[in-house]
């Protein structure tokens, strides 16, 4: 198949691998932690991009899938001593199921209405979990140290989670590319450009949008399990942090919505910037304001994001940047 030889895919994979392999070579735990955040953001941002960039629907509350996935996984690990792999799978399924149920209800809304309702969904889920005793209510769930034993103890478990997240980042790049090159992807982009015209051509908008929503929810759910497993505990305030959604939105916009490479570059660039800001005494308290300001600047001046801008400025690059 010719399309699998496309440099658009390989450049994205190469950059993802280059980012992820660095701490493996140096075997430094500190670097691993930094890059773990980047890889997690790549998974989250690229997933969000399927909805935001390909389909044109803005989901502010996307972190709800991360949080719910995390909770379901942690619950299974804590109460049933499930393996991390089973828990991660269950977290992904739970997130996908929530997207499916929500999709039927809220994907009829367009534009700002949809975006607002997604915030409401996240807040409602946080309030629900806060009062849901099996998930520990406001206190949340804490793992006992012994759950890391089967993976060779906490130190090895951290490396294992890192490898798993790295694998997910590679998977999400392939998935983004495969969706974009498919007939399904074409239907999403047609919806983004003009939903009514797409329907006149025969696209079934509610089916296509629901599938896009489900696809964009699953991997954030999986990565939620990995993140909280590594953390050792989960609580409502940490699981449903609205600003994490918004930061991921900034990453997608920064790198280039609707492109395969964009969210990868955006996640890397934004996390590096964030890392600099939070360690800098002057900026550390206004780090989120800077994210907001950055979003404003992107929307005003380079709405297509870095990769989009390059593609528009140098049409020849269209063949290599996908």
């Amino acid at each position: 198949m010719k399309k699998w030889l496309n440099p658009g895919l390989w450049i994205t994979l190469l950059i993802t691998v280059a980012i992820g392999i660095w701490p493996i070579i140096t075997q430094e735990a500190a670097k691993r932690e930094v890059i773990f955040t980047v890889l997690m953001a790549i998974v989250f941002a690229s997933s969000l991009n399927i909805l935001l960039g390909y389909t044109g629907y803005v989901s502010f509350g996307h972190v709800v899938f991360f949080g719910l996935g995390g909770y379901v996984g942690m619950y299974l690990i804590k109460e049933y001593e499930a393996s991390i792999w089973l828990a991660a799978l269950a977290g992904g399924i739970a997130a996908g199921l929530l997207a499916f149920l929500l999709g039927k209800a809220i994907l009829k809304l367009r534009g700002a209405y949809f975006a607002l309702v997604t915030i409401g969904v996240n807040e409602a889920m946080r309030a629900f979990v806060n009062n849901f005793q099996p998930f520990g209510g406001p206190i949340g769930l804490e793992l006992n140290f012994k759950v890391y034993k089967p993976y060779g103890g906490p130190a090895d478990a951290l490396w294992m989670v890192y490898y798993a997240t790295f694998a997910l980042a590679i998977l999400v790049a392939v998935l983004s590319y495969a969706v974009k090159q498919s007939k399904f992807g074409l239907s999403l982009m047609a919806i983004r450009e003009d939903e009514d015209a797409a329907e006149v051509m025969g696209v079934v908008p509610h089916n296509a949008k629901t599938w896009a929503f489900i696809l964009s929810a699953i991997l954030p759910g999986v990565v939620g399990v990995l993140f909280f497993f590594k953390n050792g505990n989960i609580e409502p305030a940490g699981a449903f942090r609205l600003h994490y959604s918004i930061e991921n939105l900034v990453m997608v916009m920064l790198g280039g919505q609707g492109t395969v490479l964009g969210p990868v570059l955006g996640a890397f660039g934004y996390q590096r910037l964030r890392g600099f800001l939070v360690t800098n005494p002057i900026f550390k308290n206004i780090q989120l304001s800077i994210a907001g300001g950055l979003l404003l600047l992107i929307v005003l001046f380079i709405p297509a994001g870095a990769v989009g801008w390059l593609r528009n400025r140098f049409p020849r690059l269209r063949r290599v940047l996908s």
């Binding site: 007939k183 074409l186 983004r192 009514d196 797409a198 329907e199 006149v200 025969g202 696209v203």
Partner: protein
């Protein structure tokens, strides 16, 4: 003659506005039906009812001997209906070829991307847009966007094609080339309903014409009959001599 489309007593109201009143006609396979009338007469609304964008308040639509009343636009597309929009609706950030592929992919024949690419290239050559295939749709001028609308609709290989003012805003040479395209489409056996204000063209290509005025069907007949109908002259054409001028061949 087999009837491709039967429209029976279609009535559509927008609040207090009576946009269509009991519109009724049969369309045999292979014909071109012209739909004319003053601005706001309800022509586009009739298209919107036929292709399922609006549900009619009264009446029925049969398409290929099937009752399709209340079908959604995507269901009508799958039945073999395609249309162009009066105000063009290109998928701006996609290439011209991708726009046309979308027409082929999701319509009646439900093609995969490979086959759709082939069809898109053929259709683009047919409407003479093949030179622009790899550009973004947003980069086209108005005349080219009209041809893109046409190409996208044709790529679905429809049984019935609804054309909403494809000649509006074109210069005389562009009109001539578009009229050629319409005639060629008919040669391929596609049935067409054409809304048009450019009288000369519509008189020239239509087998039959229906005139709408304030949602009422005030006349129906051959171009010759319509051009000489006193009601049509009063409501729409204005100048009685205009009719004769329109009917002359250049």
């Amino acid at each position: 003659m087999t009837m491709l489309l039967q429209v029976e007593g279609i009535t559509k109201r927008f609040g207090g506005l009576q946009a269509l009143t009991k519109v009724t006609f049969d369309l045999p396979e292979g014909q071109i039906l012209g739909l004319i009338g003053p601005n706001g007469a309800g022509k586009t609304t009739l298209f919107n009812v036929i292709n399922g964008i609006y549900a009619a308040d009264e009446g029925r639509v049969h398409f290929r001997n099937k009752n399709v009343t209340g079908y959604k636009p995507y269901e009508m597309a799958r039945q073999g209906l395609a249309r162009t929009h009066q105000i063009v609706r290109p998928l701006n950030e996609l290439t011209v070829r991708e726009n046309v592929m979308a027409g082929a992919c999701f319509g009646r024949e439900n093609h995969g991307l490979g086959e759709a690419t082939k069809i898109a290239n053929e259709v683009l050559a047919f409407v003479k847009l093949d030179g622009k295939a790899d550009q973004l749709a947003s980069s086209l001028n108005v005349a080219q966007k009209k041809r893109l609308e046409m190409a996208r609709a044709l790529a679905a290989r429809p049984y019935l094609l609804l054309l909403d003012e494809v000649l509006a805003g074109l210069n005389p040479s562009e009109i001539a080339s578009m009229v050629e395209i319409v005639k060629n489409i008919r040669e391929q056996g596609v049935t067409i309903i054409m809304i048009e204000h450019v009288m000369k063209a519509v008189m020239n290509v239509s087998d039959r014409i229906i005139v709408l005025d304030y949602g009422q069907q005030i006349a129906e007949g051959t171009p010759q009959e319509i051009a000489n109908d006193p009601k049509v002259i009063e409501a729409y054409l204005g100048d009685p001599k205009l009719a004769e001028k329109l009917m002359e061949e250049d």
